[in-house]
Amino acid sequence: MAGAVDGLFWFLAALSAALSVLIFGLLIAFAIRYRRRAPGERAGVARIPLGLELAWTFIPLGIVLAIFGWGAELFIRQLTPPPGAMTVYALGRQWMWEVQHLGGRREINELHVPTGRPVRLIMTSEDVIHSFFVPAFRVKRDVLPGRYTTLWFDAVRAGEYHLFCAEYCGTKHSAMIGRIVALPPEAFGTWLARDEGDAGQPLATAGERLFGALSCTTCHGRDDTRGPSLNGLFGRAVRLRDGSVTTADEGYLRESILQPAAKVSAGFRDEMPPYQGRLSELQVLQLIAYIQTLGAAAPP
């Protein structure tokens, strides 16, 4: 993907250089050729044909429209992670990055990834707006409080790459940096499995425990008598009370836990208590990870 971005960059650089040389060249050439040779000298009549005016209006118009298309197509590809992407969570807070692998490993200001496999980051902020920026991969996405944002990349080569926060977030904004460590798949597997003391439980396991501790099962049991069943919910289309349809992705789950009144499912009342302020972002991630494991064929 980075290569494609660079392709557009260098094309534009070449185009800009060519146009600049053209304008500079004409300016210099005209300035020399038509410099005033005597005081009181008059300018000569020069009729610029209308065709020329139109040409330098519509040819640039065509060129910029083409660039628009190129940039837009790139953008769509950058937004759409390929299937089979590995999901990792990232939390931004003043002034550090906390990365949470699904299997439980936690990292601070570092992200280990395998090479050759697309990685999809789901991110949120615990305070102000930050931005996750990896120049080497040509990716960047703002990290917002109250919402999930996503980005994806595929580390082609092993190595270490700069990670910067790219949205001004206060005093230590310049220090909110880290590194992406891309390891070949086996090395990554080894790293993932290593228990260095900071490996927590898999998110889903912690989530299951939390689910029980918070008595979510009281309403979200096996069927739909009190609250909508969560079996097979993740990724499915959900019909809401006002008739609209939405997809139960991570963002929907987070919102439905913290502020359930925002989207009430069809056929239910607005009865679920909001958990805003009662759960940390990490706990929400754990619950989401657990809900993702609830398949349609969950045992009774």
Binding site: A43, G44, P60, F68, L79, R141, L144
Partner: protein, 569 residues
């Protein structure tokens, strides 16, 4: 060096039939000596004096903002950034931005050159609302005082963009003071724009149809439209921000149901058109300079006039290009990207037409023209790099990096400030009745051009390599480029100080200027230097097109040329 006055002896052509031309030197009654003393200046209603009041205030703000920039560049000499604490550096770049944008760039050409020249260029005695004009200056000063108070009381560190929730909930600096200062300055902008719009509509001299207006007037008109329509939105946005900060209300606070991205939409709805407020007057000045120093009518007059209006209109529709990575919808992003590309086209039209004007012109190279050349070159580069940013897929990489910083400095400093200096030098004889020293003028123009490129070109590379903006510490491998940039900044600083000195000097010791030292066309060159209080002894009647320079060849050709470039009725 070319003696400009010698050129004035030749045929200048007359564009008016009823204006009385007097060329007597200092000692004659002019707006400068019609009353002395502080009150005659502080309570003036004369648009020319008000323009000078603004010039003094703006120069002060420019150098304060410039000082902050120098401090920033010194900090950036070393990768770990050891001279200032993080917090101090954050305040430096915030206040550099706030002061330069709201208290220099946005007002500059309109309130100085616009105020001084618009009534004269349209053959009027003053603006429509002279007292409102003076009020505009007082309001501006009040806003400036609040902002300077914020600086003195500890500074503000949110970035000039005041993004929430950092600015409304988390920042520990003087956000309210600075916000109030900017809020107040907005009213100054609105009053100025309102004054210009009304004046241009209702007070043009007899015979001065829209398409006989100088292109500078067109550009100020377009700028005034933006000032009037856009500024109220930042006004109300700042009110909401300050309410949120002081009363903990949740307009933009996610935990209360607010949306921080809504702030960005409201903020950029004004702040993007604001950059066109900054550049359009500069383009107007360049049109005047090109005409005067090639001695011919600017090519494609109607195209340039309409492109100003097009930029003003389209400029309101592109604000989302600041938010491609901020979490707005993909479809919105596409619309903004497309429109951003469209708004590039009218700017290109201007550059091509200016270049074409040199063809078969009679080109001279006095200081204002050097600034005009600098503008065209640097604005072209700055504008082309805008294409990089409008392309969504590429913006993801360079957004919030030094690439953006370089882009807007090329346009604002390489473009706008050069246009401002070019205009100041061009109209200096008219404003003060004195000539500046031409040699020093050309030297500083060159120093500024060199210093500017050395400062800001490396920043394009820094941005592509990934250096984020608003960072005072950066990876080691980026140091050389940063050092080059700082070296350039020191040269640029020298380049700005020199004109300050010699312009001041010329007010007392400069050679006396005649009414038309450049032998240029335009109503302002038909009145004495400096002009009398009411500008004209009798109201002129206009019968010629703008820039009616006498051309080589016979009058029939001249007539024919007018007919082909005249707009259909």
């Amino acid at each position: 060096m070319t003696d400009a006055d010698a050129d004035a002896e030749t045929d200048t052509g007359t564009a008016t039939t009823a204006a009385t031309v007097t060329t007597d030197a200092a000692g004659a009654k002019s707006y400068l000596n019609a009353g002395f003393g502080v009150t005659s200046w502080l309570l003036t209603r004369d648009h020319k004096r008000i323009g000078i009041l603004f010039l003094v205030t703006l120069t002060l703000f420019f150098f304060v903002g410039g000082l902050f920039a120098v401090l920033m560049r010194i900090e950036l000499l070393t990768p770990p950034g050891e001279i200032f604490q993080s917090e101090t550096y954050n305040k430096l770049f915030t206040m550099h931005g706030v002061i330069m944008i709201f208290f220099f760039l946005i007002p500059s050409i309109p309130t100085v050159l616009g105020n001084f020249l618009i009534p004269i260029m349209i053959g009027a005695r003053d603006l429509a609302f002279p007292r409102l004009n003076l009020l505009s200056w007082y309001v501006f000063v009040a806003g400036g005082l609040f902002t300077l108070a914020a600086v003195v009381a500890g500074g503000v560190d949110t970035g000039w963009t005041f993004y929430t929730p950092y600015s409304s909930v988390y920042a520990n600096s003087r956000v309210v003071l600075a916000g109030v200062g900017v809020f107040i300055s907005g009213f100054s902008s609105i009053l100025t724009g309102l004054n210009f719009l009304t004046t241009i509509h209702t007070m043009r001299a007899p015979g001065l149809t829209w398409f006989r207006l100088p292109l500078f007037v067109w550009s100020i008109y377009a700028t005034s439209i933006i000032m009037v329509l856009g500024t109220p939105v930042i006004t109300i946005t700042l009110v909401l921000l300050l309410l949120e900060r002081t009363l903990q209300i949740g307009f933009f606070n996610p935990s209360l149901g607010g949306d921080p991205v809504l702030f960005q939409h409201l903020f950029w709805f004004y702040s993007h058109p604001a950059v066109y407020i900054m550049i359009l007057p500069g383009m107007g000045v360049i049109s005047e300079l090109i005409a005067a120093f090639t001695r011919k009518r600017v090519v494609g007059y109607p195209f340039i006039a309409f492109s100003s209006i097009a930029i003003a209109v389209l400029g309101f529709l592109v604000w989302g290009h600041h938010m491609f990575v901020a979490g707005q919808s993909v479809y919105a992003g596409m619309v903004f990207s497309l429109l951003s590309f469209l708004v590039a086209v009218p700017s290109g039209i201007k550059v091509f037409n200016w270049t074409a004007t040199l063809y078969k012109g009679s080109v001279s190279f006095q200081t204002p023209m050097l600034y005009a050349f600098g503008f065209i070159g640097l604005f072209t580069i700055g504008g082309l790099t805008g294409l990089f940013l409008a392309a969504m897929g590429l913006d993801i990489h360079v957004h919030d990096t030094y690439f953006v910083v370089a882009h807007f400095h090329y346009i604002m400093v390489g473009g706008m400030v050069m246009a401002f200096l070019g205009g100041i030098h061009f109209w200096w004889p008219k404003i003060t009745g004195k000539l500046y020293p031409e040699g020093w003028g050309r030297l500083s123009a060159l120093i500024i051009f060199v210093g500017f490129n050395l400062t800001f070109f490396p920043q394009f590379i820094l941005g592509y390599l990934g250096m984020p903006r608003r960072y005072h510490a950066y990876p080691e491998e980026l140091q050389i480029l940063n050092v080059l940039s700082t070296a350039g900044a020191s040269i640029l600083g020298v380049g700005y100080v020199i004109p300050l000195i010699y312009l001041f000097w010329s007010m007392r010791y400069g050679r006396t200027a005649g009414a038309n030292p450049w032998a240029a066309q335009g109503l302002e060159w038909q009145v004495p230097s400096p002009p009398p209080v009411d500008n004209f002894e009798t109201r002129p009647t206009v019968t010629d097109e703008a820039y009616a320079y006498p051309m080589r060849g016979d009058p029939a050709v001249q007539e024919g040329m007018r007919k082909t470039t005249e707009m259909p009725p």
